[in-house]
């Protein structure tokens, strides 16, 4: 419900509490994102780097490729995602939750690892074609469509569709004329998220791409790290943010124009499929299951490959750095797992505190809150290398010489995870009935107490979901971590990358064994969160 329709706000939170929830996320954003980013831009952005960058034909080639592959990936993901979304939002079937969890787990797995598994799966003629990139983008982002669109679809009142059918419309007509228009705002939202992720694609492009296929994100990384052209990197980062800014503006326009006021069914009306439906649902679920489990199974398979046939050597050497006398792996798998878990824990706490405060602030501030909302999204559209390098030249003078501080890694993960916490909780909090709070106030509750009694309970569940997502994202985070200088806090994705950088069958097998552990840890976290969610339904 829109707070503007309530000219009287008997239940508005007092000023001090508003400041208390607005200050932490704002300060966090300013110190760890805006300041380093602005320093880097100021360092590299000038007339020379502008004209150099836009005078280069490669810039336009990269921009064109980035845009069209993102548009194609988004369209494909939406089209392919509709069938499983329909199946999981309209029907109950055994394994439904497991399927949702798997989809989400794939979404947060490190791209470097799943990309490699993807190559192993594809027939040789396809593994370097554009289809490999588009396919990987679809598999990675299916969860976005299924979750974002499914959340609306399962609550669409079925009587509208029934009415259409009664009036003689075919199922396809009902879908095109009734269901699709109602889903449009959520489709636009899902599309903009998928576009954001594929537009800024880095890992998939690096693992599956060839020489002429670079996204802006890859080009920023290449300019900054391989060519030492900071100016070019800064210009391209700004260009990337501009394009994404246009996208965000367009989506919110579409959402506002196409939003229908509907009485949503609060209880979901999922049923077991009957008759012919069973085949269609089965096919949709089966294909989706294959898409997401195949790369995961490929990870396991590759961890078992020996010189001839299969071998357990990678798994046996997990806790043993010295595999033969004098021969060391130079990687501590269990230590890396511990580091990853500790980092994920810290990043999650940070993301929930900052994100939770931000959500309260954004909903209370109304229009002004949009600035904070947009600001917290910015790190998702900004190349990790520019933030990493920005931190390097910003936090370089005592008492703010924080370079190589161990806690920069969880802070970096926090920057990436906060938007997920905010997105998860914002929708729920916005729908909290303001009349409830007004009623509480009428009954004599102070604004804070009214808020605590009526709003807080609604906030806890989405925050728990957001926490799970944050933990999973931190576990798999690679980009930001790899650009921060570090000593003694190697995370699992970094250890995996390191193993894959060396010659020898054992390294490769162990990299995939670690990837399997990472995948399982991620799936377990996501499932725990989902189980918690379903208990509350």
């Amino acid at each position: 419900m829109d707070e503007r329709r309530h000219p009287l706000k008997p239940n508005q939170l007092p000023r001090w509490s508003l400041i208390a929830v607005t200050a932490p996320p704002t300060a966090f954003l300013l110190v760890f994102y805006v300041w380093p980013f602005a320093t880097l831009i100021a360092n590299g952005f000038n007339a020379g780097s502008l004209s150099d960058t836009f005078g280069r034909s490669a810039t336009w080639r990269v921009l064109w490729f980035t845009v069209w592959q993102a548009a194609a990936s988004t369209t494909l993901t939406l089209v392919i995602g509709l069938a499983p979304t329909w199946a999981v939002s309209r029907f109950s079937f055994p394994g439904r939750r497991a399927l949702l969890s798997m989809l989400t787990a794939v979404f947060v797995l490190p791209t470097v690892v799943v990309g490699a598994a993807f190559v192993a799966l594809l027939p040789g003629s396809l593994d370097r074609s554009i289809w490999a990139i588009l396919g990987a983008h679809v598999v990675f982002n299916l969860a976005v469509v299924v979750r974002a669109v499914g959340a609306v679809w399962e609550k669409l009142p079925a009587d509208l569709e029934h009415a259409g059918a009664t009036l003689g419309a075919s199922p396809l007509q009902v879908f095109l004329r009734v269901t699709l228009p109602l889903l449009r705002p959520s489709l636009a939202a899902a599309a903009s998220i998928v576009f954001l992720f594929t537009f800024t694609s880095f890992g998939v492009i690096r693992v599956l791409g060839t020489a002429n296929r670079a996204t802006l994100e890859v080009e920023v990384w290449r300019r900054a790290t391989q060519l030492g052209d900071l100016g070019g990197a800064a210009v391209l980062t700004v260009l990337q943010l501009l394009v994404l800014g246009v996208l965000v503006a367009w989506t919110s326009l579409v959402q506002r124009r196409t939003t229908h006021v509907l009485d949503m069914d609060e209880s979901s009306s999922r049923q077991f499929p009957k008759g012919k439906e069973r085949w269609v649902v089965g096919a949709a679920v089966g294909v989706t299951l294959m898409l997401v489990t195949a790369p995961l199974l490929a990870l396991v398979e590759r961890s078992l490959r020996g010189d001839d046939g299969y071998s357990l050597v990678a798994w046996q050497s997990l806790d043993n750095n010295e595999i033969r006398p004098g021969l060391r792996l130079n990687v501590d798998p269990l230590g890396a797992l511990t580091n990853s878990v500790v980092t994920a824990l810290l990043a999650t706490i940070l993301a929930v505190v900052i994100g939770g405060a931000a959500v309260i602030s954004i909903t209370t501030l109304g229009r002004t809150g949009r600035w904070l909302d947009t600001g917290l999204m910015l790190p998702l559209g900004t190349s990790a290398v520019t933030i990493g390098f920005g931190m390097l030249i910003t936090f370089d003078t005592p008492p703010f010489d924080w370079r190589a501080s161990w806690w920069l890694v969880p802070v970096g993960h926090g920057l990436v995870a906060v938007p997920f916490v905010v997105r998860t909780a914002l929708g729920v909090l916005r729908s909290v009935d303001l009349d409830l709070r007004a009623a509480a106030a009428t009954l004599g509750a102070s604004p804070v107490r009214a808020w605590r009694a009526t709003t807080l309970p609604f906030l806890l569940r989405p925050l728990a979901t957001g926490a799970g997502l944050a933990a999973a994202i931190s576990l798999g985070e690679f980009g930001a971590t790899s650009f921060l200088s570090r000593s003694g806090s190697e995370t699992l994705p970094i250890a995996i990358e390191r193993l894959l950088g060396r010659t020898g069958r054992i390294f490769q097998a162990q990299a995939f064994a670690l990837s399997t552990i990472l995948a399982i840890a991620t799936i377990v976290i996501v499932m725990l969160v989902d189980v918690g969610d379903s208990r509350g339904e």
Binding site: A58, A120, G228, D307, T397, G488, T503, A509
Partner: protein, 353 residues
């Protein structure tokens, strides 16, 4: 008899505490290195770490290892922080990045003790002590012995051979824009065919079905036939065959891969004292230690490159299976720095047309 280590430590502390009125130097150093350098927390018993611990025991100076990313990222960071560095000593800038480091004044000039005993092929690259050579390696075309044999094909013996139809669609290389061995291989072809010949060579390779991938891992582990890909020729290292033997799942008696010696491009890596360090004296002692025999002998097995010290005795696997070309291809570091971006652009235009 040697006194126990704690005693040495105490003695050193006492000596330094009484060490006169000059500016006190910090007794701890940070060694900045690339990502394949052993990490103390990941492997405290790694011989490289143990050697550094011995340095600490001898000098009382502790050494913390700071991983800065791949070599390109590390040098970009160093250039960005020149004069106010993240650490005191840097390990692992290679000859293709050396000029950039020198131009950005990343290092203090310093001639390490013992540097005169090193082969001139290394010391000639840094005539004025711009940095200290510490290790070297070669980037070469590797081949899968069994795969070529089963196809009934003789391994190529030169870069020029790779243009022949029998090697069509059999070679995978890394993109020089994104990969260090990829760039080394491009430079090998520039050194071999000259400024007016290399583009034509690559046009032939392109028409002959060369596959370009982003990085070494993708080329070696996904496309090279040995681990399960389909291409029996790959750009890798001269040290890849011995590591295939050493790190096989089951002990091997023969290397499954071979190296085409005439395709090898020499990479030399350098260490240096970072300009702006708080501990210039300690940093210099650490650089001295890095070129000393004690440290150099741990390099081959743990850093996967070869020591610059010619007196170090290498593990048998290296003497048996590694390739040390007599006349590797090379390019002048200044020429590399001046042309790198242009070469990569030209290469991209030829290969992706």
């Amino acid at each position: 008899m040697t006194p126990p280590r704690p005693l040495i430590g105490v003695a050193v502390l006492w000596l330094t505490a009484c060490g006169g009125g000059g500016r006190e130097e910090s007794q701890s150093l940070t060694l900045v290195a690339y990502e394949s350098f052993p990490d103390r927390s990941a492997d405290p018993a790694n011989p490289v770490v143990v050697a550094l611990d011995e340095f600490t025991a001898q000098t009382g100076i502790s050494v913390e290892i700071l991983i800065a990313g791949d070599t390109g990222t590390m040098i970009s960071k160093a250039a960005l922080t020149a004069g106010n560095p993240e650490g005191d000593v840097m390990w692992g800038i290679d000859n293709s990045f050396l000029s950039r480091a020198v131009e950005a004044e990343v290092f203090d000039r310093y001639e390490a003790s013992g540097i005169d005993d090193l082969p001139t092929e290394f010391t000639d690259l840094v005539p004025e002590g711009e940095a200290t050579p510490v290790d070297f390696g070669d980037v070469c075309v590797n081949y899968d012995i069994a795969a070529l044999e089963s196809d009934g094909i003789v391994p190529p013996s030169s870069l020029a051979d790779l243009q022949q139809p029998e090697y069509a669609s059999r070679l995978v290389v890394e993109n020089p824009a994104t990969s260090s061995p990829g760039l080394a291989f491009l430079m090998a072809t520039i050194a071999e065919f000259g400024d007016d010949g290399w583009e034509g060579y690559w046009a032939t390779l392109r028409d002959n079905g060369v596959l370009v991938v982003d990085g070494w891992s993708q080329a070696y582990y996904e496309e090279f036939s040995l681990p399960g890909g389909s291409r029996p020729l790959v750009v890798s290292y001269g040290s890849s065959p011995p590591f295939e033997v050493l790190y096989a799942a089951e002990p091997l008696t023969e290397a499954p891969t071979g190296v085409i010696e005439s395709t090898c491009f020499r990479q030399v890596e350098f260490a240096g004292v970072l300009r702006g360090t708080d501990s210039p004296n300690g940093a210099r002692r650490l650089v001295d230690f890095l070129v000393s025999e004690r440290f150099q002998r741990e390099i081959a097995l743990n850093l996967f490159v070869f020591p610059v010290d010619p007196d170090v005795v290498l593990d048998e696997a290296f003497t048996d299976y590694a390739t040390f070309p007599d006349e590797p291809l090379r390019l002048d570091p200044q020429l590399i720095e001046a042309n790198r971006a242009d070469w990569i652009d030209r290469w991209t235009n030829v290969v992706t047309r």
